[in-house]
């Protein structure tokens, strides 16, 4: 079963100059696959990932995720789809700085409303502890180190058990020890839970781990 199907994607930027970023991109990703997209800085990796994650809707071509054609859906439908099916780890952590670590992780699940608050909190604590963040739960997200923030962002991406996890240089700010932790988690999620992982990177270390 294909988790992600991309057909003939073309993307242009018109500002500041007309620029053809993505040219005729087509590929399929199977369920449970762990895919790394590797390319030089500025080659359009982030741009592609924003299309795949349904956050950017201005492109030509066709994207289907888990059998749902997301191209052409309305903003609110896409928001709901993202909430339920896509976990996203940004290139920069993008946590809500005034919220606690725990609240940041719980937020997508509180929006989804499939589980009670206590269950969500329990799962969030568990994820944080898997990612080596014990004892940080009640600190403000702005008061922890960059590497910790990136791992919190990963926990947040995992909280709703999304079918696809997308990472834009998810280990870019991590040292090799934490890169290995994240990498092992991704690999385990793909293997044990059948979650599909698409990670973008420009660094070869990540590829070597594969």
């Amino acid at each position: 079963m294909t988790a992600l199907s991309v057909k003939q994607i073309n993307k242009y930027f018109s500002e500041p100059v007309n620029f053809h970023v993505l040219k005729d991109i087509s590929f399929d990703v199977a369920r449970g696959e762990f895919v790394a997209i590797i390319g030089k800085s500025g080659s359009g990796k982030s741009t592609l990932l924003y299309l795949l994650s349904t956050m950017d809707t201005e492109y030509q071509g066709d994207i289907s995720i888990n059998g749902t054609r997301v191209t052409g859906l309305k903003q609110n439908q896409l928001a709901k789809f993202r909430n339920e099916h896509i976990g996203f780890v940004f290139q920069f952590h993008f946590l809500l700085p005034e919220f606690s670590v725990l609240d940041n992780v719980m937020l997508p699940a509180l929006k989804l409303k499939k589980k009670g608050k206590e269950e969500i909190e329990h799962e969030a604590m568990e994820l944080l502890s898997i990612l080596g963040l014990n004892g940080q739960e009640h600190k403000k997200a702005s008061r922890i180190s960059g590497g910790q923030q990136q791992r919190v962002a990963i926990a947040r991406a995992l909280i709703n058990g999304p079918a696809i996890i997308m990472g834009d240089e998810p280990t870019g700010n991590l040292d090799s020890k934490n890169t290995k932790i994240v990498f092992d988690i991704f690999r385990r999620l793909a293997k044990e839970r059948g979650q599909t992982i698409i990670a973008v990177t420009h660094d070869d270390e990540f590829r070597d781990q594969l």
Binding site: S14, Y50, S53, E58, N76, A79, N83, F94, L96, K111
Partner: protein, 200 residues
């Protein structure tokens, strides 16, 4: 009961004695209606106070208009204040809004967040205003002002005034909050704006 002529004779007074009866009614604005009601009951001429005092009447109307205009102006200025605060908040929080949207929150959720904030501002402001207003009015009520029968500035306490002022305040803050909230709800997480692509 005797007729007025008999009464004058009994007191041995002439025709200039007791020429009119003044009637005090509870609500002065009802004078015209009461006058016309009374005129059906008696052959004497009945006249509401406004007829002989049209200047006083128009001064009254003018004063009411000024009072309403001043209150409305203050409300609108306050409304713009809230509008500006909310607009600034939205501009400051663009990144956070984009994050929420990327996490799957939709436009309605974002509107809800910002409307909640402006209505809370409105509620706190409204209640503070009522309390402060009441205190200031009771001070004004004690300012000496000696004209005719008055000894202090005349003040009327009406609960309905407070309720109307509060409701208007809430409505204004709601409107002033809604416009920035709608703007916030349209912020795009990705796309050519790409709020989340670069480190802000």
């Amino acid at each position: 009961m005797v007729s007025i002529q008999t009464a004058r004779q009994l007191f041995s007074k002439n025709k200039s004695y007791a020429t009119e009866i003044l009637v005090n009614i509870r609500d002065y604005s009802h004078a015209q209606k009461v006058a016309s009601d009374l005129s059906h009951l008696t052959s004497f001429k009945v006249e509401p106070w406004q007829d002989g005092n049209s200047q006083l009447d128009s001064a009254n109307v003018l004063r009411d208009i000024i009072a309403v205009a001043v209150s409305l102006t203050i409300l609108i200025v306050a409304g713009f204040g809230i509008y500006n605060i909310m607009n600034m908040t939205v501009n400051e929080k663009i990144k956070e809004i984009a994050i929420l949207k990327a996490m799957g929150f939709n436009g309605k959720d974002v509107i809800e967040i910002f409307l909640t904030q402006s209505v809370v501002i409105g509620l706190i402001g409204g209640l503070t205003g009522l309390v402060l207003g009441r205190i200031i009015v009771s001070i004004v009520d004690n300012i000496p002002f000696k004209i005719v029968t008055l000894t202090t500035l005349p003040v009327e306490y009406r609960a309905s005034d407070y309720i109307i002022a509060f409701c208007f305040g809430i409505i204004i803050t709601f409107l002033a909050g809604y416009l920035p909230a709608r703007k916030a709800s349209k912020i795009d997480p990705g796309g050519n704006f790409a709020w989340l692509k670069r480190e802000v």
